[in-house]
Amino acid sequence: MKYVDEYRDGKLARAIAETIRAEADPAKTYHFMEFCGGHTHAISRYGLEDLLPANVRMIHGPGCPVCVLPIGRIDEALELAKNRQVTLLTYADLMRVPGSKGRSLLKAKAEGCDIRMIYSTLDAIRIAEENPDREVVFFAIGFETTTPPTALAIKTAEKKGLTNFSIFCNHVLTPSAIRAILEAPATGKLPPVKIQGFIGPAHVSVVIGSKPYETFVEEFGQRIVVSGFEPLDVVQSVLMLVRQVNEGRAAVENQYIRAVVPDGNVAAQKLCDDVFDLRDRFEWRGLGYIENSALKLRDEYARFDAEKRFAVERIHASDNPACECGVILIGAKQPADCKLFGTVCTPETPMGSCMVSSEGACAAHWTYGRFRDKAKKQDERRRAS
C-alpha cells in the first residue's frame, strides 16, 4: 500500500525507538498525552509501548468522540428514535454505546425503531430523498474532522429543498478539551496530571491547522507535536517531544507535514462557520461540562436542527459511581487501576465511556494490551515487599 507501508516500517521504527532510548534521560520521567483515539489505537495496535523506554509514559487522552458523548445524549437519541415518524441514521460505532438502564440504539433497533447505520453524510441525504414520508434524522457526532461533512449535508439538504432532513448535533471541539485538561489543576474540577507534552491530533489538525495550539505554549508552556496516525509518525513525534523536554523548549511542532499546514483547511472552516455556532457549554462524558466546547446549528438553519424540530428534552444521566473514566481520560489513573475494568466493564458490556469505542483508553488496553497486566502487578507486589 503506497503511502501507508512507508509509515509502518518496523525496522525504521525500532531505529527511532533506539534513539529515544539513547536520548531520554534516565533520571527523568517523560509523560506525554496522545489526545486522539486514533493515536491510542496505533500505540496499542502496534505494541509501541514495548518499544519505548520505561520512563517514557504515554497517557491516553479523551479524543474519542464516542467515548466523550454523555449518556444523556444517547438517551435523548433513543427518545428521538421512539418517534414512529423518525428514521435515525448513525455511524456504526454509536450503535452499541449504552445509554442509561442498559439501553442502546442496537437494542432499540431490535425493538422495532427505525435506526440505520450509514457510512457517510451523503447516504443520509440519499435516504432522506428516497423516503419523503419519513423524518430522517442524522446523529451527527465527532470532532472537527467529521464536522465539515455534516455542514456539507446541511448545505446540500438546503439546496435540494429537503424538508424531512435534520441532524442531532453533537460535534465537539478539540482545543476546548485540551484547555479543560490543562486548566484542571487550577479549577480543581479534574485531578491534576503531569503532562509534559501532547501528541497533537492528525485529522483534526488537517482541518483546523496547527495554529490553534499555539495558545497552549503561550499560556501553559506546553509542548505540542502534531502527528500522523501511522505508527512511525507516533514514534517520531515522541522523539520530537523528548528532544523539546531535553532542550528545555516548548513549541508547536508539526510532524504531520504531509497533510497539516498552519492555517488548516480554510474552505472547510468557512463551511463550518456558515452552518454552526458555538454552544455555551456542553457535557463531556468523563470530563464534565466544558464551556464553548461544542457546536450547534445557526439560527438560519434551525429547521434542520432535530433538537428544535422534535423539542428534544435535555436528559442528564450519571455514570456508574465506581467508573474511573474521568481520571483515566486525563491520565491520572490507568485502565487496570479501575475496579470495574475487565470485571463488569468489558467491550461487550461497557460501563464507562473509555470502554465503548475501540479508540477509548480502556477498550484499547483491554483489546490489545491487557496481557501485560498480570506481570506488571506481580512486579509491583515484588517491589512493595
Partner: protein
Amino acid sequence: MNAPAEPRLRHRKMDVKSGRVDLSHGSGGRAMAQLIAEIFHDAFANEYLDQGNDQATFPAPAGPGGRMVMTTDGYVVSPIFFPGGDIGSLAVHGTINDVAMGGARPVALSASFIIEEGFPLVDLQRIARSMGEAARDAGVPIVTGDTKVVERGKADGVFISTAGIGVVADGLELGGHLARPGDRIIVSGSIGDHGVAIMSSRENLTFDTAILSDSAALHRLTEVMIAAGGPSLKLMRDPTRGGLAATLNEVANQSGVGIRIEEDAIPIKAEVAAACEFLGLDPLNVANEGKLIAVVAREAADAIVAAMRAHPLGKDAAVIGEVIEDDQHFVQMTTAFGGGRIVDWLSGEQLPRIC
C-alpha cells in the same frame, strides 16, 4: 423434495426467465412439484435425490472408519451473489468444510430453502445450478432437500439450511481441546478475502476491487494433511465468521493454552490489506470461506506445510505461530514493529450476514 422424477402430466415449462416465486410454489401443489423438478432436480441430479422420496436412502459408507460426523449450517449471506461465488456454492463449500475439519470424508449433503415470495426464478435457478456444480466438483451429492415459501417481507430473498454427513477414519482424533505448548499453528493461505469480497459488493459500500471470495471445499486439502501428518495433526478449523482471531481464541480457550503468532508471517493479499485499511477493519477479524488453520506437533509442521503447498488450495500455507503456556489463555501477536499485542475476539458486529 419428493417431486416425481417424471411428471405424469405434460404441461408448459415454468417461465424461469421472467417468472417469480409465489406462494403456490410452497403450497404442496403442482406448482411446487414443478419448481422442484425444473429448478432443483435439474440442477442437483443424482441417483439418491432422483428416488423422489421424503428421504434419501443410500448405502452405508464402505471402508475403514466406524464413526460418522454430522453438521448443520444456515446461509443468509447478503448480497446473494458476490465476487467469487454465491449463496449456493457457499452453502455447499461451508457444509463440506465443517465435515472435513473433523478429519472426515464428506459423504452427502441436504439443502433446505426458505424463499421469499417474489424472488426471481432466474436467480433461484442460478443459485441451484451453482450448488449442483459445487457439489459435483466436490464429489459430494445433495441427496435430499426441502422448499418453503414465505410471504414478502418475511425473509430476504432466499435462505438456505444445510446438513452434511461424513465418515472419519478410526484412530484419527482431532479436537479443539488438543493443542499443547510447543505445537505449531498453520494457516492454509491468505486471510480476509471472503469478507472483503462481500463488503465490496454491499449496496451502500460498493468499491472496485479485484478480490474474489475464497469460497472453496477443503476436504481434498484436509485429506492430504491427514496423510502427511497422521497423529501429529491435532485439530483443524475453518476461520469463517470472526476470522482468524476468533478461531485462535476458541482453540486457546478449549485447550487451556496461550497462542503467540507473528504478524509478519500471516499471509494477507495487498488488496485485502488496502481494503481493510480504508474500511477500518482488522484482517484478523474478517471472514474466510476457503481457508483453514491447523494445530500440529512441532516436529511434523514442515512436512505438513510442504504437503499443503503441493495442493492448489494450500499453496500459500505457512506456519504463523505456536502454542504457549498461558493460564490466561491469551492469543498474543508480535507485531511487525517487534511490540506485543493481544489478538482478541471481535466485540459486537463487524459486518452482518457474511455467510
